[in-house]
């Protein structure tokens, strides 16, 4: 049963994608939407069935399906093989259910776009690739999904390809993730060489029993980390994600918030046994995650584009996940991944609905007071915002963030004998980040939905859009209750789910941690209300002139730095070398040879040549001279006669 359902899970969106692509232009928008939703819906149903099947089985049970051997050759083998374990269950549920909701939303959102078939084809293909990614039991197979989602992301960011900025953003996203992919490929090569296979189980076993040298483990972990960082838009690869908001909003919700960008988190969680062995890499991951979450939050605080705020917030939240992963809180990371998928999808979709109804106005300072025009959307957005901020007890974000913070608190890195990195510092950063999260998202809420009304909203949000929104609202409010902090004991469903596959983090955090974690988001909310929310807000707009603000708004200037450091030199160099230098060199050598041989030839024949040339010239000048003699003047003729006579006589006389 499972052996059939698991391939079918991937096949149904894939088939939908193929049908949609092939029949492009022949099916109506409605039919295309239905087809895509059916494909994703089927896989959602299958994933629910599969998870029930798996969870009803033994705790360590996994569902392994080997479809066919991919490469079997001396010293190496790779298969097209899938595996469903408890980590993948979480992921397929998130991917298919959130994916389904977003698809349903998109049917309405995209219904009058001429390229709808391309859109849904790419979206369903994305779901299929993502499922391949999360289900693959072989790293090479995972890599197919890994690149596949990148390709779909490229197609969807550049969906409205008429605008050069969009396609540029798409290419940027693809290039930056591709760099990570190259690093990931290196990591895979290293592991494959060391372990002789890329089957995840085999690799992890080889690492665990010391078959792989520690330096190789560190290197591999580093390479894979780079790949994950690029995919998840962490420092130093963060710049592509804000630009990726050029795509349609459902794309941003599905790919650039809920699923694809979390692939890095999933990969590291999947390979946690490898990373446990690589302590420096873990520390690096935690530090980068912490930095990213701070940086993302700070940048989000000064953005004025609604979708960009959400994009930076995504980067920041992914930073949380990496922080958690770096600290070994695998479960927390996955938990946050799940809740983040819910509330960030909700936020994006709501933002999309708002943007559609305000005639594609994305600047939050031109919006305002939308609370009255669209109360439902306002409520949904506020729900999402609360979840993102982690408003205590009622939202999912609170629980997952709490889990991360408690996991981070306990972490401890022994990098060297003298130098250790305590989790407390990282915890502090995380807490600061939580405060900033509440601040920036409620800044957005207060500016957009409260205050003076800026734009006029028209139309109604269609039913097809509201259903997914309400579902996501429920999920982002209640999705967290399945895992309570240790301090409130009763419910630990999520960790119970993952305990067999992912080691639980240490749970001996002091009780006041939860309290602090609850107060800080509320404080952020309060400050936001003071600054932007009151009837006469203190700060209507952050002064955009200040250099630091402008600096922060561009994402720490990293774009500019990269542009000057890599893009421009690359462009210049390619421009410089656009004509093949070697070609020129060789052609030039050829020309030189030709010239030399010609001159050799000439010098060989030169003597004769000069002789004949000189002779000819002499004859011609003599000719000329004779011509001069025949000048037609009688007197000269006479003179010549006399001269001749002279000479003749002289000869006669002298003889």
């Amino acid at each position: 049963m499972g052996e059939i359902l698991l391939p079918l899970l991937i096949l149904s969106p894939l088939a939908a994608s193929l049908v949609v692509f092939v029949s492009a232009g022949r099916l109506s928008a409605c039919a295309v939407g239905t087809l895509a939703c059916t494909g994703v819906g089927m896989s959602a149903v299958i994933s629910v069935i599969l998870s029930v099947m798996l969870l009803s089985g033994p705790a360590t049970g996994t569902l392994q399906v080997m479809l066919w051997p991919w490469i079997h050759i001396a010293g190496f083998s790779a298969d097209i093989a899938f595996m469903l374990d408890r980590i993948s269950v979480v992921m397929i549920l998130v991917v298919t259910i959130v994916g389904l909701l977003i698809h349903i939303y998109a049917v309405s959102y995209m219904h009058d776009d001429p390229g709808i078939a391309r859109f849904f084809g790419s979206m369903t293909l994305f779901i299929a690739s993502m499922l391949v990614l999360v289900l693959a039991s072989d790293l090479l197979c995972l890599f197919i999904g890994w690149e596949g989602v990148g390709l779909c992301s490229y197609l969807l960011i550049g969906f409205w390809y008429d605008t050069p900025a969009n396609t540029a953003a798409a290419r940027k996203a693809f290039y930056m993730t591709r760099m990570g992919d190259a690093a990931l490929l290196c990591g895979l090569l290293l592991l494959a060489t060391a372990a002789g296979s890329l089957h995840i189980g085999t690799v992890l076993a080889a690492v665990a029993n010391g078959q792989v040298a520690l330096s190789a483990v560190n290197m591999a972990a580093l390479f894979i980390l780079i790949g994950a960082l690029a995919k998840s838009a962490q420092i130093p690869f963060q710049t592509w994600l804000p630009d990726a908001m050029a795509g349609p909003t459902p794309t941003s919700a599905l790919i650039h918030a809920a699923t694809m960008v979390t692939a890095g988190v999933y990969l590291i969680a999947r390979l946690h046994d490898l990373f446990v062995m690589a302590v420096p890499v873990m520390a690096l991951m935690a530090v980068l995650g912490a930095l990213t979450l701070l940086m993302g939050a700070c940048t989000a605080l000064v953005q004025s584009d609604l979708k960009r705020i959400l994009a930076w917030s995504t980067i920041s939240q992914l930073g949380y996940m990496f922080l958690a992963l770096g600290c070994g809180a695998w479960q927390a990371a996955l938990f946050h991944l799940m809740t983040h998928a819910f509330f960030k999808a909700l936020l994006f979709l709501t933002a999309g609905a708002v943007i559609v109804r305000t005639h594609h106005e994305q600047d939050i300072f031109r919006l305002g007071g939308l609370r009255h025009a669209m109360p439902g959307l306002a409520a949904a957005f506020i729900t999402g915002a609360s979840a993102l901020a982690g408003v205590p007890l009622v939202t999912a974000g609170f629980y997952s963030k709490e889990m991360i913070l408690s996991g981070v608190w306990a972490a401890h890195f022994r990098l060297t004998h003298e130098w250790t990195l305590s989790g407390h510092v990282l915890w502090g950063i995380g807490l600061l980040g939580a405060f900033l999260s509440a601040l920036y998202i409620f800044r957005c809420v207060f500016i957009v939905f409260f205050g003076k009304s800026g734009t006029t909203a028209t139309g109604r949000t269609s039913r097809l859009m509201t259903i997914p929104l309400s579902c996501l609202c429920v999920l982002s409010l209640c999705g967290g209750i399945i895992e309570m902090p240790m301090t409130f004991p009763p419910l630990h469903l999520f960790s119970a789910l993952l305990d067999p596959t992912l080691p639980p983090s240490h749970a001996d955090e002091p009780g006041w941690l939860v309290l602090v974690g609850a107060i800080v988001p509320l404080a952020g909310l309060g400050v936001a209300w003071v600054l932007w929310g009151r009837p006469s807000p203190i700060m209507r707009e952050i002064p955009g002139q200040a250099a630091v603000i402008r600096f922060a708004r561009t994402g720490g200037g990293m774009d500019v730095v990269y542009d000057h450091l890599f893009v421009q030199p690359f462009r210049f160099l390619t421009w410089l070398t656009r004509h093949d230098i070697l070609d020129h060199a060789i052609t030039g050598t050829g020309r030189l040879t030709q010239a030399v041989s010609t001159s050799v030839l000439r010098s060989r024949t030169g003597f004769l040549d000069i002789l004949t040339l000189g002779g000819r010239r002499g004859i011609r000048s003599a000719d000329h001279l004779l011509g001069q003699i025949h000048n037609g003047r009688v007197r000269w003729y006479a003179a010549w006669i006399v001269g001749g006579l002279c000479a003749g006589l002289a000869m006669a006389v002298l003889a």
Binding site: G25, I73, A74, E147, G148, L151, C186, L189, T193, T577
Partner: protein, 505 residues
């Protein structure tokens, strides 16, 4: 009776018939339109018969005694030890299949545009095919050289007569490079034969006999270099690649496809069959340099490809980059790398061939290859654009498609030899993404820049042909295992004896 001579001779005879058909038609009547394409149908019929023959060879031997599928031998010039020796193993067979598939592609998609002296075009086209197939099956070095040169002449004429604006120069460049390097190979062949004659007293050009020649390391290295340079020019390896961009750019579409799809592969085939297998020790000594050249090729080709504005030139440079992988794979010295190189050759033949066809289709419609003047084709021609996107993505090494399998295997084989080289090569993959997507963005996406009236999408039949290639690529990417078992070159040590015994008269 072995079907190999028929396999080799069929295309050229069919081509001659196609030419004759056209001549006769010209002389009799040109009134009825359906018979105007009689010579084209003749070519198609030739290809079909050839394919049937090949299918017969492929599937007609359920029980294989040795690794060599077919053998044919007939004395040619007995006093010199030259014979018509043809042998077929999995490597040859898979490359011949590739050739035929690409020829079908050209026949269906590219040759109909040839209106001037089309009969002669078909004849030369099929003559090139004969040369290629002959190269793949010849195991007599003299015969091999004969076929090697036979490929060049019709291709030269194809470029020089039916090419684009700068065709004469490109054709001359192509001819001079390949011909010059071919002479080096001839020297090496003669050197090997004479050495063999001195050592054993037997004057022969037989591949299997020559493989047993005892050689001093220096001599062996010298002879191998002669072969290597010839193959390196054909493949091409970077410092001697300069003929390729011009030739590919200026050639007519069908010739570009043949060049990129198959002619380059003869270089790879030669490296496997004659460099690594005839001179294994010298090849091992030479491997670091060759691998270095391979990496340079990967990076240099990709780099220059990033800077091109001419679509066909861009694809040509990307071919150089991909062929760098082939060199890298062949000289890793492991079976893994060689398999990777073979898969890479097959996949590149399909993807680059298809890309050239698409570029040709664009040029037929817009009469330009400049990417600055093309743009936004997706809206008007979605089928062509989608195919273009697919093959561009394939050529950037998307996992799940054939090119990735080849590249991955090559990298996997390279990593134990030198992680640094492998890491450098992955940079080539990033560059591949840059040039491929640059092309996609400029040509298919972007804002429309051309008159939409010019843009007629691919007909459904041609799309179906492209779809077949896509399926091949996907199969090669997802299920390469049968190809890898099937297409492995026969190890020499085994074959030399078994094939002798099997086919001894």
């Amino acid at each position: 009776m072995s079907p190999l001579p028929a396999l080799v001779l069929l295309p050229i005879m069919g081509g001659g018939l196609a030419w004759l058909t056209e001549r006769i038609q010209l002389h009799t009547a040109t009134t009825s339109p359906p018979s105007r394409n009689a010579s084209w149908w003749m070519m198609l019929a030739t290809l079909i018969v050839e394919t049937l023959l090949l299918a017969g060879i492929t599937f007609g031997h359920p029980t294989r005694t040795g690794p060599w599928l077919e053998h044919f031998s007939m004395p040619w010039i007995p006093t010199m030890g030259i014979a018509v020796r043809l042998d077929l193993d999995g490597l040859s067979l898979s490359l011949i299949w590739l050739s035929l598939i690409l020829c079908f592609l050209c026949a269906c998609l590219a040759t109909r545009q040839v209106t001037v002296k089309s009969g002669a075009f078909y004849f030369l086209f099929l003559m090139t095919l004969t040369g290629i197939i002959g190269t793949f099956v010849a195991t007599d070095l003299f015969l091999f050289f004969f076929f090697w040169e036979l490929m060049l002449v019709p291709m030269f004429v194809l470029i020089a007569v039916w090419g684009h604006e700068d065709r004469q120069r490109a054709a001359l460049k192509f001819f001079m490079f390949t011909q010059g390097s071919g002479l080096l190979m001839l020297l090496s062949i003669l050197g090997l034969v004479i050495t063999h004659d001195r050592e054993t007293g037997v004057l022969t050009f037989d591949y299997f006999a020559l493989a047993q020649t005892p050689l001093s390391p220096t001599l062996s290295m010298l002879l191998m270099l002669g072969f290597f340079i010839a193959f390196a020019v054909k493949l091409p390896v970077v410092p001697v690649h300069v003929w390729l961009p011009d030739a590919h750019t200026q050639a007519p579409t069908a010739a570009s496809v043949l060049l990129a799809g198959i002619l380059l592969k003869t270089g790879g085939y030669g490296m496997i069959r004659f460099n690594v297998m005839l001179f294994p020790d010298a090849a091992i000594h030479f491997a670091p340099i060759a691998m270095g050249l391979g990496v340079v090729g990967v990076l240099y080709g990709a780099w220059l490809s990033c800077a091109q504005n001419d679509i066909k030139r861009l694809i040509a440079y990307s071919s150089i980059s991909h062929m760098g992988f082939v060199v890298l794979g062949i000289f890793t010295g492991s079976r893994l790398g060689m398999q990777g190189a073979i898969i890479q050759m097959l996949a590149h033949g399909l993807s680059a061939g298809a890309l050239f066809l698409i570029a040709g289709a664009i040029q037929d419609r817009l009469h330009t290859r400049d990417m600055h003047r093309i743009g936004g084709l997706w809206a008007a021609m979605p089928r062509l654009s989608a195919s273009g996107l697919f093959f561009a993505v394939a050529s950037l090494g998307m996992p799940g498609l054939g090119n990735f399998t080849g590249e991955f295997l090559v990298l996997l084989a390279t990593w134990p030899v030198s992680p640094a080289i492998a890491t450098l090569t992955t940079v080539g993959l990033v560059l591949a993404a840059i040039y491929a997507l640059r092309m996609v963005n400029r040509v298919f996406l972007a804002a429309p820049r051309v008159d939409p009236l010019l843009l007629k999408d691919l007909p459904a039949r041609q799309t179906a042909v492209f779809a077949c290639v896509m399926i091949f690529l996907v199969v090669l990417g997802l299920y390469p295992q049968p190809f890898m078992i099937f297409s492995g070159p026969s190890p020499l040590s085994v074959t030399a004896t078994t094939s002798r015994e099997d086919h001894a008269p």
